[in-house]
Amino acid sequence: MDEGTELSMSIAHIVQRLKGSHLHSQIERQAKDCLHRPEIKLESLKEDVRSFLKTSGWEKKLQNAIYRELHIQLPPSHPTAPLEHLKEPLAYMRKAQASWEKRILKSLNSMSTELGVPLARKRPGAEQKELTNKWNEMGTDEPDLSRFRPVYAPKDFLEVLISLRNPNHDSCEDVSARSHWGLIQVPLNVRDIPQLRQAHAELNLSSGQLGIDDLAHVHPDLFENDYVQIGKKVVMEQDSAAAQQYSRRGCPTGLRADLWALILNSTNQLQDMMHYEQLRAGVIQHNLLVDNLIYKDVKLTASNDDYYFVFEDFLYQVLLCFSRDTAVLEHFKYNSATPPKSYLHGKVGDEEYAVVYPPNGVIPFHGFSMYVAPLCFLYNEPSKLYSVFREMYIRYFFRLHSISSSFSGIVSLCLQFERLLQTHLPQLFYHLRQIGAQPLRIAFKWMVRAFSGYLSTDQLLLLWDRILGYDSLEVVAVLAAAVFAFRAENLMEVTSLASAEAVLADLSTLKVIPLIQIFLFATAI
């Protein structure tokens, strides 16, 4: 298809999506109301209304909404390509994802049968009242969760990724020039350092960065003060695209909450708050087995973390509502995963009684709550926190736990990590391989959580600034390789997987941006 047709199709698609949205009716109302204004002349009605919408900021809001749609739009595709091809073009990956999902569903079904806990049931009235009263302090509850276990942990998922094979790939076991030493054996396109340098040009050694040039020993006039001024201007302009570009060199702590909300086009207007209330009502009315999994996950991970345990109640409020949100189902158009289905009243096969379980189609795994925890530092209002988290999930985090060939998908990130290590630290990689400590086995848990819970929070937020700024998770793979490069000397001395893990156990003192910058721009190629 030529570019002109592609563009018109994109435009038509976005117009269709924005039609009937709340923004659409707001702009219409504004346009009607402005007709009373004196500067609107009959002869130049169209232009006058347009310039009014521009000066009052509504055109900017529309631009931001369109920019958001572009982020989640499917890439242009051939008209005969089936829907499943749009979710994931490679047939063997679709198959692997489907069989992984089947395993999870079987596991969930058997957990429900063994424990005698239904997957979903309506709460009796008294229980609903109790939960409403306890809504703000669910953390004080100590339900008996010992019988529940997480559906899967990242290491189970890693085994599935390791076993991914392309049936058409000639992977002979002999060592050859194109041997790949790592665990991922699918030949996906991943970018190497020269390409990453081009794509992440703003991180180069001669550009000021937050995370490097705002440290105590650097005078603020050299970089920080001017950068913060620019940031304030960006927030005042309320421009999504500008905020995204700005975020590439970091967001100042005081402006980060507003900037991220701008980039994600996450508003907290009346209809968002009402939507959150609707979700809350859904939590109170129905009890899901998945709720227990969420409780267990929060208790096991975030509550045990020095930085995040204070946010326990927030995490329940966000994650329980997240499970009830059917708006999340939209992201399955571009996610290789498929939401689990069930039939009510035992009417299997009758589509009238088909429902999705959980309502948002996402089954949480061990560590899922760590996607939300860092955001609690930025937003203290539950509906705003929820809105930002949901947008981050449907743009980025879903790619970390589904099998796909996407650039930002976890399979590509793992392969990129291994390739970077093999190309630039071959001695280290070979040594670790020989002692049975494949680097991916250590780095996988960092990447699946986008380093949440492993770095100190200020460093983590600086990393997530770049994820938002570059609209890609590749910096996560780069950071993983950079960490290995940083600790290379110590790692060369270890002689077992356990000691390698011990060397890399504590990342809380690392400064991430210098590591990324040095790895990308100071590595000899």
């Binding site: 005969t80 079904n109 979903a120």
Partner: protein, 217 residues
């Protein structure tokens, strides 16, 4: 996009692909990475090709050659190259583009795709990483004369967008004009179908959401 679904591909069957081998002896043929797929069109009817669509299966480059018979029945035929080495995969060694759907339109071709009797696709896959490569679901769509579009909405819109000609005698009252404009606006809004993509948000069916087992199919 209605034109796409209403057109029919030419009824033809691609011959089995012929993989070219290097090496004199039949005992140890070496894959050359080149394969030829011939698609003969039904004889007796030279076709004007509009589009060729296919799904890729690990082919890196495709060359399209056409056998044309420009001067009517029983005239001489000539092979011409319509497209040379169109890249289907960014990098022959990696997966990107390996299973994508493509279409080649007549406007992309170097020659006029008229009076075509047979189409030959020459596939190249220089990388030794793949066991096989081919193209699937090859369909050839003939060039069709565009039908006169029957625009039902044309006369409807004529009814709605009535030009308000100002009175020739004296100037019209601006307030009445602006209020009638607003009424017209409201009328067009009512007439427009307002299809919203927003969902209602309910996950239960008539208040019931009691689930016991997940469906595995």
């Amino acid at each position: 996009m209605n034109e796409v679904s209403s057109r029919q591909p030419v009824a033809c069957a691609a011959k089995p692909p012929v993989y070219l081998q290097i090496g004199e002896s039949k005992a140890e043929p070496v894959q050359s990475g080149v394969c030829v797929v011939d698609v003969p069109l039904p004889c007796g009817k030279p076709v004007s090709v509009e589009e060729i669509t296919f799904q890729n299966h690990y082919t890196a480059y495709v060359t399209v050659r056409l056998l044309r018979r420009p001067s009517g029945q029983d005239g001489p035929t000539k092979w011409v190259t319509a497209l040379r080495d169109l890249p289907l995969m960014d990098n022959p060694h990696t997966e990107r583009g390996s299973q994508d759907y493509h279409c080649i339109h007549r406007t992309q071709m170097l020659v006029e795709a008229d009076h075509v009797v047979s189409v030959r696709l020459i596939l190249r896959q220089p990388s030794s990483a793949w066991l096989t490569f081919s193209l699937e679901e090859i369909k050839i769509f003939p060039h069709m004369e565009p039908e006169p579009q029957k625009e039902v909405s044309d006369w409807l819109s004529d009814l709605i967008l009535v030009d308000q000609l100002p009175d020739v005698e004296g100037l019209p009252d601006p307030h009445t004009v602006s209020s009638s404009l607003q009424q017209m606006w409201a009328l067009t809004e009512v007439m427009q179908t307002n299809q919203t993509t927003a969902s209602i948000g309910r996950f239960d069916v008539d208040g019931c959401y009691d689930i016991n087992l997940l469906s595995l199919t």
